[in-house]
Each structure stands twice: as C-alpha cells, then as structure tokens.
C-alpha cells in the first residue's frame, strides 16, 4: 500500500518473510473461495464415510472436468427410515449447489446386497411437489436386476431439473417378476443404507452463465 509508483507490483516487497507468508495464506483463502463462488468455507456436518467416499470417487472421470465451467457432483443418499419396506423406501439427496446449474447427466448408483429368486424389477420414481401437489411421482428409470453388486441407473436430467427445493427425493419401488410377488422386509435387506456402499447420485452439471444461450446484442 502507499507505494510511490503507479505500478504496485514494481516495488520489491519489503515485508518480512513471516508477514509475507501470512499475507499469502490470507490471499490463498480469498482466491480459493472466490474461484469456487463461495463466501465462506463449507462447514461439513455429516461427512460421508471414508470408504463410501473412496468408492464413489472412482466413479468420477479422471482428468479435466467437462470443458467450459463444468462440474461433477457425487451426492450420497440419506435414508430416513431404513426399516420401511424394501419396496416403498425413499432416498433423499441435498443438492443446493446443483439448483442454479444446468444438469446434463445423472446416474443413480445402487449396491444390491442380494437378489431374490427370479428377477427383481426395480423402478425409480421422483417424488415431490413437482406437480404442485404433494405425493405426486414421476417414473424416472426402471431396471431388471438378476445379480447382486453395483448397478447404475441413468436418470433423465430433464426429469431432475426444475426442482424448486434443493432436496430431491427418489422412491425405490420393486417387485419380483417371479409370480409378481411383492417383496417384504426392510430396505436394508436389499441396499446398504449406512455403510460404504450407500446409494449415491453421480451428476454432471454446467455452471449457468448469466444470459446463457442468448446472443448478446451490441
């Protein structure tokens, strides 16, 4: 501050090394928060389990993110009541950062612990106030499952956009194709709801530029 010449960077720094280091650390905080469009560092209340995190990170594409301000997000499901029946349970995702961005790719990863005799017909509905009245649901994806392990269900990004609230609820619905029996038992029979094989969403978003998509008029 207060340097004589018009070019501040032309003055050799006269700070003591310690003071310069403290300044650099402060600058780094500002630079990272600004670069991430954050006003303050996030307070992580419920960090995902390390094992789930490591496994999920393997799903992210290595290397550069989608060109042009793209982001990749992994959101772990919270399951409020894993004792509900397998076939009407709800997966809840908190996606506030996704709200103001353009979602163009979404996959739901489920780790099926076991299968039942015959084929399991799995359907994923989006649950919520989309149609301005509670309890409406929209079918997003369905899959016939014959083997345990990880399964990725691609969800239509159009089906997930436009969510007023930052909370996305997906309902897992299932039945056995053998004799069309409804499967009973708690959800945790089918899915790992708390450990390192939690269901999670893998999303690819593009940061909305103001006036995106409209040519500027000069």
């Amino acid at each position: 501050q207060g340097t004589r010449s018009a070019c501040t960077s032309c003055e050799s720094p006269t700070l003591a090394p310690q003071a310069e280091r403290a300044l650099v650390l402060e600058l780094a905080k500002q630079q990272i928060l600004e670069g991430l469009h954050l006003t303050s560092r996030p307070r992580i209340i419920h960090p995902p389990p390390q094992a789930a995190l490591t496994r999920a990170l393997r799903r992210l594409q290595p290397g550069i993110v989608a060109p042009g301000n793209g982001e990749e997000v992994i959101s772990f499901a919270t399951i409020t009541d894993s004792s509900t029946s397998i076939c009407s349970s709800m997966l809840t995702f908190h996606l506030s950062t996704v709200q103001s961005h353009h979602l163009y790719h979404a996959r739901l990863w489920l780790h099926v612990l076991r299968t039942f005799p015959g084929t399991l017909h799995l359907r994923i509905f989006r649950w919520g106030p989309r149609r301005k009245h509670r309890g409406s649901r929209t079918l997003l994806a369905e899959r016939q499952i014959t083997t345990p392990g990880w399964h990725a269900l691609t969800l239509p990004s159009s089906g997930l956009r436009g969510e007023e609230s930052a909370v996305l609820k997906l309902q897992v619905n299932c039945r056995s194709l053998e004799g069309n029996k409804t499967i009973t038992g708690p959800l945790r029979w089918l899915l790992d709801t708390t450990g390192h094989q939690q269901p999670f969403l893998e999303l690819k978003i593009r940061v909305n530029e103001p006036e995106a998509g409209r040519a500027k008029r000069r």
Partner: protein, 114 residues
C-alpha cells in the same frame, strides 16, 4: 520468467506453495493437498517494457505508439502475469456432496513487463 532471487529487483515470478493443511482446510478440500500461489513483482525499466508474453503484446503495441510520438512516455510498465493455468479441485460442499471442478486462471505460470 525468472523466479525471484533476493538480489534480483527486476520483474519476476514469486513462487509460494500453499498447503491446505496450513489453512485448516483439509477437511473439506479433498484434492489436491495444496497449490502454487505465485504472483508477479519487481521492477520494469523502460527497456524491458513489452517483454515477454501475451498480456504484454497489447501493451507493447500501445507503448510503441507512445514511443513513436513521445520518446519518454509518462506511464510505467508493470510486472504482470502473462500466462496462467486452471486448478482442479475436489471438495465437499456444505451438504457433504463431493464436487469436482476446474477453477480457471488460478495459477500464475509466467510474468512479464506490460
């Protein structure tokens, strides 16, 4: 661009590595562990004006016009970044989601005199 030596007063790139541990941010920034926060500082005497780099080219065009019309221009040449690169970050947002993004122009790679 020369990295700064104590005895070199000329425009140079001053390198600093910031470890996120030092900021107490390792709990939410998963990767990388730290990054280079470089900045440019040092003197730009007139004979160095316009050397080297992208940003300088614009200034050197203006500067040569000034020189042509006035051998001793009033303005000073400044030590500025001439090349930067993005920084890939993997971090947890306040919902505990994992976000992977590229922040543009985060690392100064080269400096030059405008």
């Amino acid at each position: 661009t020369p990295t700064c030596e104590p005895e070199t007063p000329l425009c140079c790139r001053r390198d600093h590595y910031v470890d996120f541990q030092e900021l107490g941010w390792r709990d939410w920034i998963l990767q990388p562990e730290g990054y280079q926060l470089n900045y440019c500082s040092g003197q730009c005497p007139p004979h160095l004006a316009g050397s080297p780099g992208i940003a300088a080219s614009f200034h050197s065009a203006v500067f040569s016009l000034l020189k042509a019309n006035n051998p001793w221009p009033e303005g000073t040449s400044c030590c500025v970044p001439t090349a930067r690169r993005p920084l890939s970050l993997l971090y947890l947002d306040h919902n505990g989601n994992v976000v992977k993004t590229d922040v543009p122009d985060m690392v100064v790679e080269a400096c030059g005199c405008s």
